[in-house]
């Protein structure tokens, strides 16, 4: 029965496409899509309460199994909670062309993400994991008229699939060790296998969650519509890596290198992503950099041994990131550009501005919003490893405050230069409802600061939190305030907000430290060149093949001409000649390969054409001669068999 959780959104999405794709009313579309996601939410609640389980056998060794744990129940609730406003927003705002397709994919994605969360074996996980990649390809390339988007969609898919290979490898190792793929048995592997397994899983998680060096795929993903970005960043796709490691961390606790690798990569990504976001002139890319950074913080928490902190930060990040992407989408639509300096010229309704401000302050990690509590959790967890780490994490939090301020102030303060844009007046209040709902949830998240709430949650999750030291909290708060101030200053001063490149350093940051270029140079271009070369070589070998086969056929024909000869005589001689022909062909081929590469193709094709034309004239004749050889061999065998039969 539990299969209903992943299947219901997928099936309902297809039905939506069938019945609603041509619907004229955005409100009807929005309500029906949101209703599907809300029913999914109710289903999750009901399924957990009634203890549903799911299993499906593939063969005698492999079975797909799904089930709830407290962690996955929380994640499975978060996904529809965040996705419902997002699909509503999509139906209300995105362009009308192919809207049905967009909504279908968004709703379907919820089901796939639920499978990632609920999977209790590596096969179910791998299936959903890769389908999520394909769906994001379809979503990023939604506006197909622009060839660039196709390229970026493929970049995102290929980057994440490169990491997925790690998950494949981990799966193979688990099967080789245990003979099955259940999570429950993963702690029975040998130490070496566990270590390799952890490496594969970590690679896959890093690529999905946009950690270094995979982070830039999120920039490519920005070419999708705003609602797609909101869904990918907040509730699905990017979350998959963290959700997976949260679940597997207890089983991999013995792998000594795992903690340091998670912490260092997570921290590096948090700092690098923060710098990239701080420098980016593009509203959505700013948010994309911040997504990498915040998932980096979650990896720090997992690496320090507090997966529950990571899980809670994931939930709060989802709540605040979705409305910010919606705001970016509305702003980009009104300003007809995602450039922050263009956006700064546009007037926004006060309700929008203030609700987005709340989400931005949550992203900044300002007390008393809930995200600040989970961020403090990460700081303290890092502090338990070494105090300097806590300072570094707090610094990443300061960066977060800086870019949040930049983002928000661009929509807020520069009234003087603002113009009225009369094209936008068609928007009505209900279209902003999803933003308000999510902001309300962000505010609600503040209750996490209450000891009763967070300790109760911790008990239910069966997890402990790190104790927060006063000095850590003080440093964090100071850095957040400093970051907010600096971000405000950056906007107020103006320079660098606008035109693309202002300084080389910011250019480097805005290009993700040239990581995409590096990947292009080191992987894409060499592989392309290799494939072109191999293709050219293969073409030439094809020509050589024609030549050899033509010669072989000519030889057979000559055999056929002398078919009156005695079969016993014919065969040995024939095969001797075949040997000669082959030897000659291969030696000539080698000779040609070594010194005739440049001029060969033209000459070869002429030669081959000539010989083939000679052959073509008498095709049936050749077929007969081949048949004659076959029959000859067969008769010979029968004679031999008869002789042998007679003897025995």
């Amino acid at each position: 029965m539990l299969w209903l959780i992943p299947l219901f959104p997928i099936v309902a999405a297809l039905l939506l496409y069938h019945f609603r794709a041509r619907s004229r009313s955005r409100l009807a579309m929005a309500c029906s899509a949101t209703a599907v996601v809300l029913i999914e939410l109710a289903l999750v609640w009901f399924a957990e309460a009634s203890g549903w389980k799911g299993a499906l056998g593939w063969n005698s060794h492999l079975a797909l199994t799904i089930d709830f744990t407290p962690d996955t129940f929380l994640a499975a609730l978060m996904v529809p909670v965040v996705a419902a406003p997002i699909v509503f927003f999509a139906a209300a705002h995105e362009e009308a062309a192919r809207l049905g397709r967009l909504i279908t994919l968004l709703v379907g994605f919820v089901g796939v993400m639920q499978l990632i969360i609920l999977a209790r074996d590596l096969l179910s996980l791998l299936i959903a994991w890769e389908i999520a990649g394909a769906l994001s390809w379809l979503l990023i390339g939604h506006r197909f008229q622009d060839a660039e988007r196709g390229r970026h969609a493929s970049q995102a898919f290929l980057t994440t699939r490169a990491g997925d290979l790690g998950l494949y490898l981990a799966t193979f190792i688990a099967f080789q060790q245990n003979g099955n793929l259940a999570y429950a048995d993963l702690d029975q592997m040998s130490p070496l296998a566990t270590s390799l397994f952890a490496a594969g899983v970590t690679l896959a998680a890093f690529s999905k969650s946009a950690q270094l060096p995979f982070s830039p795929w999120l920039f490519a993903a920005m070419f999708g519509p705003a609602s797609v970005s909101a869904l990918l960043h907040a509730a699905t796709m990017v979350a998959a890596g963290v959700v997976l490691l949260v679940q597997l961390q207890p089983m991999l606790a013995d792998v000594s290198w795992l903690g340091p690798v998670l912490i260092s990569t997570g921290l590096a990504t948090a700092l690098a992503g923060g710098l990239v976001a701080a420098a980016s002139p593009h509203a959505k890319r700013l948010l994309a950099g911040s997504t990498s950074a915040h998932y980096g913080l979650m990896f720090v928490a997992i690496g320090a041994g507090y997966p529950a902190v990571a899980l809670l930060h994931f939930a709060l990040h989802a709540l605040m990131k979705a409305p910010l992407f919606m705001m970016a989408g509305i702003a980009g639509h009104r300003a007809d550009s995602y450039n922050l300096s263009q956006i700064a010229r546009i007037q926004f309704p006060a309700g929008l501005k203030y609700s987005s401000a709340i989400a931005a302050l949550a992203l900044a990690g300002l007390f008393p919003l809930g995200a600040a509590w989970t961020k403090e959790g990460v700081v303290s967890a890092a502090g338990l490893v070494t105090p300097w780490l806590a300072v570094a994490v707090a610094f990443a939090g300061g960066l977060s405050a800086l870019y949040s301020a930049r983002f928000q102030c661009s929509t807020f303060f520069r009234h003087s230069a603002k113009q009225q844009n009369d094209a936008q007046t068609s928007e009505s209040g209900w279209q902003h409802a999803p933003l308000y709902v999510l902001t309300a949830l962000v505010l609600l998240g503040s209750v996490l600061w209450l000891p009763a709430v967070h300790s109760g949650l911790g008990q239910w999750l069966g997890a402990a939190y790190p104790d927060t030291e006063l000095w850590e909290f003080a440093i964090s708060l100071a850095l957040v305030l400093l970051g907010l101030f600096l971000g405000y200053r950056m906007v107020a001063r103006g320079p660098g907000q606008g035109e693309r490149t202002t300084s080389p350093a910011r250019n480097v940051l805005a290009q993700w430290f040239f990581l995409p270029h590096l990947a292009q140079r080191l992987i894409v271009i060499p592989v392309d060149a290799l494939s072109q070369r191999l293709a050219a070589l293969d073409d030439k070998v094809v020509d050589a093949g024609i030549r050899a086969s033509a010669r072989f056929a000519l030889w057979l024909a000559s055999v056929g001409d002398r078919s009156g000869e005695w079969a016993f005589d014919l065969l040995p001689r024939g095969f001797a000649r075949l040997g000669h022909a082959l030897a000659a062909a291969s030696s000539r081929f080698m000779e040609w390969l070594s010194d005739q590469l440049p001029e060969a193709p033209a000459r070869l094709s002429g030669l081959a054409g000539q010989q083939v034309r000679r052959l073509q004239s008498g095709m049936l004749h050749h077929y007969y001669s081949l048949m004659a050889v076959g029959v000859g061999v067969f008769v010979l065998t029968l004679i031999l068999a008869a002789v042998k039969g007679g003897l025995s």
Binding site: G150, S154, L158, S648
Partner: protein, 495 residues
Amino acid sequence: MILTAALAVPLLGAVALAFWRGWSQSAARLWAIGISVIPLVAMAVAWWRFDTSGTMFQLVEEVEWVPSLGMGFRLGVDGIALAVAAMSALLFTGAAAYPVDTRGSARQYYAWILFLEAASLGVFLALDLLLFYVFFDLTLVAMYFLIAGWGHGKPQRAALKFFIYTLFGSLFLLLAILGLYLATDPLTFDMRELIARQPLAGAGAIANVVMAAFLLGFIIKTPLAPFHTWLPSAHVDAPAPASAILAGVLLKMGTYGLIRIPYSMMADTFAEWALPLAVLALISIIYGSLVALGQKDIKRRIAYTSINHMGYAVLGIAAAGALLTGSEAARSMALTGATIEMVAHGLITGSLFLITGSFWQRGETYDFAAYGGLSAPTPKLAALTTLAAFASLGLPGLAGFVAEFHILVGTFGVYPWLAAIALLGLLITAALFLRMLQSLFFGQLPERWKSMPDLNAAEFSVLGILLLLVVVIGVYPAVLIDLIETSTGWLVGGQ
């Protein structure tokens, strides 16, 4: 009787087309579709009657011919043969139904299609080594005439090359068959006897020579690099349904033959040859995908991915046969995967080649740089091509993934390094298919394709059925695996 009927009906259908001249174009097509449905029904009945807990070969039909020489007309199926034969029968129906320009000689075209169907099913259903060989060679004749008569580009040259090259391979096959046959005592071509007796076990050099000849014959047919050079030109110049059959059915004869003959009948010799075979398969996986990435022609690109996919199938077979005892779970997975790959590749690549036919019918070119932005005028074509491409790049939830996952998991238990390197093929195939989709369906729509018609009902329903099965196998592969595991149980555990 049911297996004999599956062979005889299309053969008689072909004869009727060949010797009665009064067929109109549409009558010939309808006749061919109607006739080709009968073997499909026969396969469905066979599937239904097949007992998954029974003996290895079932539904056996046997007529002695020359008992003293062990020759006879013997048909029968095991799980692997039945799966592949059923897929083939379906693909033939699809190929017959798919619209194609028959250039005024529809009667001959459909006659050859039906003749090819009879011969192809014969290869999979034969339980007699001699019968197997005869059918194996007859498929070449039919395919030669289909390519030479209804191809484009330089069809005669391509057909000839295909013919000569694969006939060259099948000569070795014949010699190997005779070598194996002469080692039996009393003489027999009966496959069941040959599997039970392992005639060349412990025969040293002779066994190795025979094995080499078998492998060469089947590798050319499969084909693995570097014996693949006949494949691209045959595909590019063949009419699309013939390409679909060539990729979907004829290539399977190589891998099916590997399982049926050297793997089963010479198990200990095969185990010695398994590692080199696996390495060759790995080379094909990587080489095939890289060369495919370098192609600028839709059909050539898909043709080279066949080399990649058949490489996976051979890798699975080699891994399964690498040991005589031990690692049963992994080896059984590898062999199951290889069989699923045969079925999956037949359905997926068959669909892709049929799709290239639709492009040819509309645009008369395979160069994908000539297309662009086609999502707008032809949404159905875009959707089905995308689905087929994702299936081919091994996306989970579709049949190709099930196959490759089984093969690689199984191979990892025997040759971990080979399986790990083979994973790279997944990334390269993803890149090459996504790029193809990008240039076909993304970007601005060129003026000349503004009025390109979308898939018509016949095209849509054929592709729809094939791809529906791809989804069914991808989501719930147990339907297929139950059948296949009947055989892998015998082939992996029972030796």
